[in-house]
């Protein structure tokens, strides 16, 4: 029983990631509808969307190569791999040690790389535009992300995710401006990486503003389902990564099966709050011009750097 426990919990986490991600997106959409005075389709609509796409036939562009057909699987695989590494329900998952936070960022980078390639594969103007913009956003987000990671690892003396979560959980409660700055930077980066307003709008198909949607415009059927699903998981994972790094209280520690229900409830509550935050931000802000993203991510970099500086200067 004790042997099987880590495997069980790992399996449980993968299922939670797979099934929780559409639910979270559904929750966000529902809240948004409420806030904007529209009628919502309920939190389960994303499940229906995915299952509909999965049974639909595929229409492929004439010159789509194997890259185009392989990309959805690579994107989905890399994202799910990331999902099995982040401590979402338990800090001591067997797989958390396989990759630290830098490798985790690289896993998301694989997904992005293949999506961008798929965007270039058909040879339409939209696809190339999306790839170019996506890689621009990513290249600006990366230094900020590293700086934010640097700041958190200064506090925890580690880049291993479970160690980082442990340090914050068990450390004495102390006001740390560095962590606050890192958190703010992380929020900005997460918004940019998951393609939410004000950087990208996941609901738009207007050519001037599309980033992510432009790359995946030519997808259909199960390919589209996988890409959409991976996108939802990405939102879910960035939210839970933020939770694990900055608000880990409630995540189960070690081999205590009793902690799991508590951890689950805490997770649902925290993610619901994150969803609310996203909706508030998205309702309040308008999408920014594409070249304002430089300043947006520049501010993220600034905040993360201030976090690093204030660790040395003030703590």
């Amino acid at each position: 029983m004790m042997k099987a426990y880590p495997l069980l919990i790992e399996g449980l986490q993968v299922i939670i990631v797979l099934l929780g991600a559409p639910l979270m997106v559904g929750w966000v959409r529902m809240l948004k509808c409420w806030l904007q005075g529209r009628q919502s389709a309920g939190p389960f609509q994303p499940y229906r969307d995915i299952s509909k796409l999965l049974i639909k036939d595929i229409v492929l562009a004439e010159n789509a190569s194997w890259i185009f057909r392989f990309a959805p699987y690579a994107v989905f695989g890399a994202t799910l791999m990331a999902g099995s590494i982040i401590p979402i329900i338990s800090v001591d998952l067997p797989l958390t040690a396989t990759a630290d936070i830098i490798a985790l960022v690289a896993l998301f980078a694989i997904a992005r790389f293949f999506t961008a390639l798929a965007g270039m594969d058909i040879g339409t103007a939209f696809g190339g535009m999306g790839s170019s913009r996506e890689m621009m956003v990513a290249s600006l987000a990366e230094p900020a992300m590293l700086m934010s990671v640097f700041t958190v690892s200064l506090v925890s003396h580690s880049t291993s995710l479970s160690h980082m979560a442990h340090t914050v959980m068990e450390g004495t409660l102390m006001l740390r401006p560095s962590l606050a700055f890192a958190l703010m930077a992380f929020v900005l980066i997460a918004i940019a990486e998951t393609g939410r307003i004000p950087v990208d709008n996941p609901a738009t198909h207007l050519e001037l503003t599309m980033i992510h949607e432009a790359m995946v415009l030519e997808y259909s059927g199960r390919h589209l389902a996988l890409i959409e699903w991976a996108g939802m998981m990405k939102l879910f994972l960035f939210s839970s990564l933020g939770i694990a790094l900055f608000f880990p209280w409630g995540i189960a520690v070690a081999d205590e099966a009793m902690m799991l229900p508590v951890a689950l409830i805490a997770l649902v509550a925290k993610l619901a709050l994150v969803g609310l935050l996203i909706v508030l931000i998205e309702t309040r802000l308008a999408k920014m011009r594409i070249f304002r993203v430089t300043e947006f991510l520049g501010s993220a970099f600034l905040l993360a750097t201030l976090g690093m500086l204030s660790y040395f200067m003030l703590e």
């Binding site: 201030l306 500086l309 003030l314």
Partner: protein, 221 residues
Amino acid sequence: MNVNIAAQINSVLAALILLTAFGLLVQRRIYGLLHIFAWQGLFLSISTAIVGYTAGLHHLYISAILTLTLKVFALPYILYVLIHRLKIHKEVEDMVNIPTTMLIGIALVIFSYHLTAPIRELSTLVTRSTLAVALATVMLGLLMMITRKKAVTQIIGFLALENGLFFAATSATYGMPLVVELGVALDILIAAFIFGIFFFQIRTTFDSLDLKEMEKLKEED
């Protein structure tokens, strides 16, 4: 409230002051600048009060209240009225683009940390670590005055610079004597008024508040 927690809160406030100093550099809207400036004043006044409490220096409370009334309410209000009356363009115009200004700002923070290192080793006050932040705030205020075009942004930069000086005084030596502080506060107020009168003058002369117009004042060769 023990000293340790007070020092921690003070560090957080110092961090927030630094953040607002950068916020002033990054902000594009003039009303936004005023809000950020008011917040900076608020953090400064809280920090002064906390230093006063932990050090048992009661005259710092008076400075805190002065800061609160002047820098959080009075000055932003005066500037708001000025901007409103003069119908100034609502966007900040910069000479150096914002990301570059940010990078220069970060370099300045590191530089001031380097500069204050010897003082940090000598000082024994709980607030000594915030000195670098204070110096950085001064430099960032100056940077803002250098890199912005319009007169209004210059005065906000100047006021931010003064905030930094004030913060340096509280963090390095637990504040200046009360008389000096009162005098400085009065100076600031008067300066704001003089700036206001100048704005009107500049505008009536040049029909603009762009400081580039002042270049015309030199003699023709």
